[in-house]
């Protein structure tokens, strides 16, 4: 038995989060420590075994059987300071061999892995009762001895060797993960990781199962099927390599391998009894986490009479209290010594399946997770995580007083690896989860669809089929759903270019604007729907809240941040108050949100497209007014919309007729028929998702030329009549629209057709929205200054007339306001309103020609 002095140095019993501070004893005095652990191990081997007698009898044999093939194992006898024969160490490669054989490793203690161990013991106990000798059985094969772990086809030695080869050789220059910063992709990836461990001192090696699979299919299968046997073998392999390379490295405990991204199961709903005891990866959202639970791993007993001490492993949550002291044979003399027993940290976490995975009309499933040691408190409620772990089912405890047992198992997952998914959402597109969603047949189908010549029209038709016509608007929204290509100009100092397309719908009430918004909101995975009336600036952006339980300040995100990479639908845009709307300025061009509140200063990504709907200011569109006057939105905001659509009641007989037919058909067709007619919403959704994540069109040479021409045209048309009708912002819009149209075709190159369509749509939308009611000419300056060029011209003329009038009055230093107005009215041949007059005065004041004070006008 180990000496009492060694107890404090045990890693695994440590309370609290042990990962950061290295334990002083280890760190500072490796030699002596080494010495002692060795000693204690050897004594441990020789001492009589206090616990379960059958185990005692068999374990040496077991050890022999296991270690006969790789001889160095025998020598490697664990630097553990507990008894070798205890059921825990018994037969598991992890506990036995984890103590790496090379000298360098000796000082590094093994930390028990509760994430692997909790159920296995049951199996062993059972074996004894069955009279089976061992859980490692030698199976004689024709080619000679081959040892496998009982119940599996895992051969420890070959498994270890394969894994070592994997670590040393695996290179995948194409695979890029976001943690790969600073890795040379052409060097063995995991060797670099080990180097990192040496430098950083965090003894965990994360291994992507996908890599393993591409390297060795069989090894991968073994890992998935027998994780609790294979992972310790991996541990062993990793440690051997590590300490071989860095013999002087000091780690807090030995390296633990943490596989992740097992492809076994993605969805919680698919878990079934076959997955029990296998390595699985599921995604979900943390909904609850328990307090830290100190779980007793090993109880320490001392005899009250002779002070003989013994340790007892916890078996399925129970301590088998020794009734007789082995030393003095006194009955009931053993007492538990709490502070010498060993505990490990444990936490229960509830994971709920993510809303996207849920079938409609059902409630989400949940699953319990057990996190151990330093995985405790790694996730908070609300986090989206991918969890890799071992799925367990445990029968509900037998109640000693009632003979019958509930025939139900409790299930949980022992966590091996967490991977947060939503923290990434704020930094980059989460491509991993989105890419995996498509099966090959689906991709085939989508590609097939994309080849159709009329795919653009088809998709536009499939969009909100219940809304009649408005084809261009649907096309616009379709392009918005696809979005442009993301362009990064950070190196030239311009930052990211916006790829999202913003659309404003403006029109008469009852033209199904809200319905369109609702549809889009339902279609996109990260859509948000708010109403301008009911939302405040805070609700849109983010706010700081004090968590009532922890008293911590928490940043709660609002609709705009939540719809990052999605679409934020804002209904009743015109009813939104001014300050709220001003928040949108930053979002709509820079695609970020800056927050400075309650000590939290940050910039959040809000790469959201905005689909807004507004009613005209008089609630009915006034055709005699300009768009600006009808919408009454600040021009700065309006110019940020790529497309502004007017949804007006056309009042056209043919249209009415078609509308009537469409509506009538709604009222008798059964649902199946409707589905036949149009493309499925699910297909549309997949099509868009696929295009968004895989297609990234670039401007082609021709298209670039076409764009330049289009832009020059747009400007030329304007300049011919003395008006500027296009701004660089409109050119950007044009590019985005063209890119989106190329995405619709699944094309990697933007071609002239795309530019043509973008131009057409742009013109179509603008023709309606920026037609100068007085001249009938397309005039974007309406959008940028809120005033048509003719109105501007008229204003200038009036100012000049006023100047002449004043100058004609001679040297009078000051003039009466009312007098001047009357004079101007008498002189002018158009009706001069007071507003127009004041504007003219202001214009002259700007020229430093005069000043206006109260009711008098002074010349300067």
């Amino acid at each position: 038995m180990s000496s009492p002095a060694s107890t404090p140095s045990r890693r695994r019993g440590k309370r609290g989060r042990g990962s950061n501070p290295p334990t002083p004893q280890d760190a500072r005095s490796p030699p002596s420590q080494k010495r002692r652990t060795d000693d204690s191990t050897s004594t441990g081997d020789l001492q009589p075994m206090p616990t379960s007698p059958p185990a005692d009898a068999q374990s040496p044999g077991a050890a022999d059987a296991l270690f006969s093939s790789p001889p160095q194992f025998r020598h490697s006898a664990i630097p553990l300071d507990f008894d070798i024969s205890s059921p825990l160490t018994y037969g598991t490669p992890s506990s036995r061999v984890e103590g790496t054989p090379r000298s360098g490793a000796r000082g590094t203690p093994v930390r028990q892995r509760p994430d692997l161990g909790s159920v296995r013991k049951a199996r062993q106990v059972d074996l004894h009762s069955d009279g089976l000798a061992d859980d490692i059985v030698a199976t004689e094969q024709s080619l000679g001895q081959k040892l496998v772990i009982w119940g599996t086809d895992v051969n420890v030695a070959s498994c270890k060797e394969k894994f070592q080869r994997f670590l040393q050789r695996f290179i995948d220059p194409l695979d890029k993960e976001d943690e790969d910063i600073g890795l040379d992709l052409n060097e063995p990836r995991y060797m670099q990781r080990l180097q990192e461990i040496n430098m950083v001192g965090e003894p965990f090696l994360n291994v992507n199962c996908d890599h393993l699979r591409s390297f060795d299919e069989n090894l991968y299968r073994q890992l998935i099927c027998y994780p609790q046997e294979v992972i310790p073998t991996f541990d062993m392999a990793a440690n051997e390599i590590f300490f071989d390379r860095y013999p002087d490295s000091i780690l807090e405990h030995q390296i633990q391998v943490r596989p992740y991204n097992a492809l076994k199961t993605r969805n919680m709903r698919n878990l079934n009894p076959e997955d029990i005891d296998q390595l699985i990866t599921i995604s979900g959202m943390v909904i609850r986490s328990s307090q830290l639970i100190p779980e007793m791993q090993e109880a320490f007993f001392r005899c009250q009479v002779c002070a003989f001490t013994t340790r007892v492993e916890i078996d399925r949550g129970r301590i088998a209290e020794p009734s007789v002291c082995k030393n003095c044979n006194t009955t009931h003399s053993m007492a538990l010594i709490h502070n010498r027993s060993m505990f490990s940290d444990k936490q229960m976490i509830k994971l709920q399946e993510s809303p996207e995975d849920m079938p409609a009309g059902q409630t989400p499933h949940t699953v319990a997770l057990f996190a151990h040691n330093d995985l405790v408190d790694k996730v908070q409620p609300g986090d989206r995580v991918n969890v890799t772990g071992i799925y367990r089912a445990v029968p509900i405890r037998v109640n000693p007083r009632v003979s019958s047992v509930k025939s139900v198992y409790r299930t949980h997952i022992d966590v091996i690896h967490y991977r947060k998914t939503d923290s990434k959402r704020l930094h980059g597109v989460d491509e991993e989860t989105e890419q995996k969603r498509f099966t090959e047949e689906r991709v085939e189908l989508l590609k097939e669809l994309s080849k159709k010549a009329d795919i653009y029209e088809r998709l536009a038709l499939a969009l909100a089929p219940s809304i009649y016509e408005h084809e261009d608007i649907k096309k616009g929204i379709l392009l918005q759903l696809f979005g442009g290509s993301r362009k990064d100009f950070t190196h030239t100092g311009r930052g990211n270019f916006r790829a999202e397309i913003n659309i404003l719908l403006c029109g008469d009430p009852g033209t199904s604007k809200s319905q369109l918004l609702q549809y889009v909101y339902n279609l996109v995975p990260r859509g948000q729907y708010t109403s301008g009336k009911g939302s405040s600036a805070v609700g849109l952006t983010a706010y700081v809240m004090k968590d009532p339980e922890t008293r911590q300040l928490v940043l709660q995100t609002g609709a705009l941040v939540l719809s990052d990479n999605g679409i934020c639908c804002i209904d009743e845009f015109d009813k939104m108050n001014e300050s709220t709307r001003s928040v949108l300025h930053e979002v709509m061009e820079q695609q970020t949100l800056s927050i400075a509140k309650a000590g939290i200063i940050c910039q959040l990504n809000a790469r959201t497209s905005i689909l807004a709907a507004a009613n005209p200011i008089e609630s009915q569109w006034n055709p005699k007014k300009t768009t600006i006057e009808n919408i009454q939105l600040p021009h700065t905001l309006l110019s940020r919309f790529d497309l502004i659509f007017l949804m007006l009641d056309p009042r056209d007989e043919a249209y009415d007729r078609r509308l009537a037919r469409h509506l009538v058909s709604l009222y008798y067709q059964s649902e199946e028929k409707m589905e036949e007619e149009y493309m499925d919403m699910a297909v549309l959704r997949d099509y868009i998702a696929y295009a968004r994540s895989y297609v990234n069109p670039r401007l082609g040479e021709e298209a670039g030329q076409a764009l330049i021409e289009a832009y020059v045209d747009m400007r030329k048309i304007g300049s011919g009549r003395g008006m500027v009708s296009a701004y660089p912002r409109q050119l950007e819009s044009l590019i985005r629209l063209a890119e989106a149209h190329a995405k619709v075709r699944f094309s990697d190159k933007v071609e002239t057709v795309d530019v043509e369509e973008a131009k057409r749509l742009h013109r179509e939308a603008l023709k309606q929205s920026a037609t100068d009611p007085k001249t009938g000419i397309v005039d974007i300056s309406i959008l940028t200054t809120g005033m048509s060029a003719t109105a501007r011209k008229r204003k200038e003329e009036l100012a000049q007339a006023l100047r002449k009038l004043i100058q004609s009055k001679g040297k009078a230093p000051s003039l009466k306001y009312q007098q001047l107005l009357d004079d101007l009215r008498a002189q002018s041949d158009i009706a001069v309103t007071k507003e127009m007059f004041e504007e003219a005065l202001r214009a002259l004041a700007d020229e430093d020609f005069l000043t206006v004070t109260g009711k008098t006008v002074r010349l300067l």
């Binding site: 049951a122 949550g317 009309g361 029968p395 405890r397 339902n522 509506l663």
Partner: protein
Amino acid sequence: AQNAPNSDWEKKVTEYFKEKLKENNATNWVPSLNDVPVHYLKPNSLVKFRCMVQDMFDPEFYMGVYETVDPNTNARVLHFGKYRDVAECGPQQEIDLNSPQTVTSERQTFYCVPVPGESAWVKEISFLTEPVLCFLNPWPHAYISASQARVSPSTSYTPSRHKRSYEEDEDMDLHPSKQKEQHMACKSCFPGSGGDIHGCVEPKRLETEASAGHHVISPNCSPPLDLNFPLPGEKGPACLVKIYESWESFKVNDVLEVFGVLSVDPVLSIVNSEERDSSSLDPMECMDTMEEQRVHSPPASLVPRIHVILAQKLQHINPLLPACLNEEESKTCEFVSNFMSELSPVRAELLGFLTHALLGDSLAAEYLILHLISTVYGRRDVLPLGKFTVNLSGCPRSSAFTEHLYRLIQQLVPASYHLRMSIESMNHSRFIPHKDYTANRLVSGLLQLASNTSLVIDETQLEQGQLDTAGVHNVTALGNLITWQKVDYDFNYHRMEFPCNINVLITSEGRSLLPSDCQVHLQPQIIPPNMEEYMSSLLTAVLPSVLNKFRIYLSLLRLLDYSISDEVTKAVEEDFVEMRKNNPESVTADDLHKMLLVARFLSLSAGQMTLSRERWLRAKQLEALRKARLQQQQCVNGNEL
């Protein structure tokens, strides 16, 4: 002594019961948990339950096959765990948890409640064995006589046959051992409540107990267990329904009728309480909070378990109609065609009845009929089709008119709820179901209703006042329900949309603050001095048989198909274009929507499955009348101002 596991028997069980239940009204012989209190039912017997899925728990892994060992003799016996909560084993036996023979299977648990807002008449008529009987004497049915009628067959009929068949075994000599097991069960559950145990041994005594008529539900239960009914003041058993097959097809808020094995083993509750005492060391204990345990394994006396053998979704819960109308059974067709032949007199009578109820306003009565047979028959992307929310404005405020109107409606529809809007009720009641993560369950709210429930919202009692956040959410939820026919359940971190199909009728003085599809202004022809007397006399004046016909009428017409011929489509088109020509302002697409809706339900209400030109004109006429009335009302109000 038992068979080796093969999956065949599982199929056979379901088939056997399916066949048996098809036989002449066999379903009526199975005691229903809806009518008979749990403690009158024999444990482990076949029962049925008409219920709504309120929540879905996580799937359960259970021992499909397990092995017991006798430690003395080392004799091993295989058992089946399906359709059971408790793995049984003899006093000298132990369950071998590590046996290689063990088969783990999966089942799903639904938390089910009786259909919320189920009308009293549905419950009462469901008692009767033969649906035909209802026509003769549906009304006052003393509870005791009914329960007696139901209980006695259950005790004499079920044990020998059903017991055996779900006990996977074909050989006859099992019976004695079965009885022994029953005795065993009695012994083991002795600490629990006594009543039900005697039942399985002495059926006779049960009957006498039943006739004594005390049906106090479980006197020794802990009182504060919230059974999570959507509506306040609901009674009835909630039930944990364990489904073994194709549970994916069921959704939250579906109305089901399940046939299965009742399990009220008191051990279920005992296991819990004891676990709680000695929970200190069990690592599994810390997995669930106390609340979660209470919710997920409540005492069986309060929330019994049903292990489902057969489950089916119900299209409607009207007991006067055959359960499934789609089936091509001659009986069903006969029933429908018989009823259709006498449809128009029924409609006329119903119209008269409702006209009286609406104080002589026949137009409002016409619209009320249309409203009552409306149902969401489809969704075009987000747009629900076929919802017809009526806002009955101009209701007299003083007399309890709306109250009485609701009572009448209650007599006609199978499920309904009267929501009296007031500042307080809006601010303090729970409308939207939300997920309680501590207890891991969906806490129900008022708006968690089954399809085709009538929700009557009374706005006349609403006073001025301040709505707080909860109140605003509640009103928004009501608005969403009316416009989109969906409720966004609150899952704390996100919201989830559940489509629904609820008929909303709003009674108000002026125009309602909630959106509606059509507003009908009530024009009372008579103002009865005593509203209560007037309304109750109205109800007593209707013969029960006629009342039943009304009920069939309303439920049946909802389920009919409808179409519009090309010819009529053309006519409607022409009409619309014509109307727009004359006055483009007044007729919009929305109006056309409304007219088509009215036309649809008008045709259906007359039993016609296609739109005819006459109906279309009639629909237009009705709409014109309604609009004229509204305009008139606005003028009146304008003058007053």
